[in-house]
Symmetry: C2
Subunit: 189 residues, 2 copies
């Protein structure tokens, strides 16, 4: 997705060989116009797959998931971190390690919102080691819904998450794949 590459080239900040900051348009400040285009592009790649629900994880997945769900005309469900007291009844959950915050969090989804009849598209902003995506895949499995695939905004191709998920036979669509961040340079695949 050329528009996204351009935005990353202009506004992305290479913090280290593994960390790319896109705070100014994707996960702290949001550029609504770009988010809409990203949502449309992800929706477009899965438009013939009968998606009935978009699943993401709070917080930075929500905007992109919503934009895609508007296009697909299906609800979004976002997994919650650290189960709040208002989340009751049967729950699907998984343990996810956050590398940015360096902590383990349990993510949860109410069983009310994922049914065996659902066809689920997982969406997230980043795919690196794949911790969040794997947690969401685990939740889909618990719900017995059908996993249609995973839509990712930025994949770090030099980390193993994408390959591991694809090795499980999961369809992973990344709008942009970063090949390397070495020497402060952003190189796309």
């Amino acid at each position: 997705m050329e528009l996204l590459k351009q935005k990353i080239r202009e506004h992305g900040i290479v913090v280290s060989d593994t960390v790319l900051k896109v705070d100014s348009f994707l996960n702290h400040q949001l550029d609504p116009e770009l988010i809409l285009e990203i949502g449309k592009e992800i929706a477009n790649r899965f438009k013939n797959d009968g998606v009935t629900k978009v699943l993401t994880i709070e917080a930075s997945g929500i905007a992109v998931a919503l934009a895609a769900a508007m296009e697909l005309k299906v609800p979004v469900v976002f997994a919650k971190k650290n189960k709040p007291s208002t989340l009751q009844g049967q729950i699907y959950s998984a343990l996810v390690h956050s590398f940015t915050k360096n902590e383990d969090v349990t993510i949860s989804v109410s069983a009310n919102y994922l049914k065996p009849s659902d066809r689920v598209l997982i969406i997230d902003d980043f795919l690196a080691m794949g911790a969040a995506s794997k947690g969401l895949v685990e939740i889909v499995r618990q719900s017995k819904a059908r996993l249609v695939g995973i839509g990712i905004v930025i994949e770090k191709g030099f980390q193993s998450g994408g390959q591991e998920l694809r090795n499980q036979g999961i369809r992973v669509e990344s709008l942009v794949t970063v090949k390397s961040l070495a020497s402060g340079q952003i190189e796309f695949c």
Copy 2:
């Protein structure tokens, strides 16, 4: 907003005299069509106020804030909870008590995304005791930006947050105000 009242009547769950669950369309599962309408309505109320930025807090404010920002054609900034390692440089922050999670969290916004020249519209899903909104107001003050007002999806009129904010001279627009949840009944103002 009649559409929203109807949705709350049909799908809202009164958990107690003070807790209204709207998990099925606003803060766990999201109904994109409704979220868009909510965003449009909030945007409409502030369309002549020269808003340059929408400010919200992760996670459940993001969807509505994005929808309003799409309409106003301005960026969204969402305050982060528990400062992640990727948030660097000058930061505005405030301490917020979460009544649902029963814990204090520090919310933070990078100084890069709120400038003294900004005219800020704060948006959140709920207004009860006003903890989150007051935290966001504090962050706007630190940034020296101009606070245009606060747009809320559901205000609990029987709790003091709204009144306290209005007493400070802040314009608070709530799409729906719940007067009472007593005896399991939802009564609107």
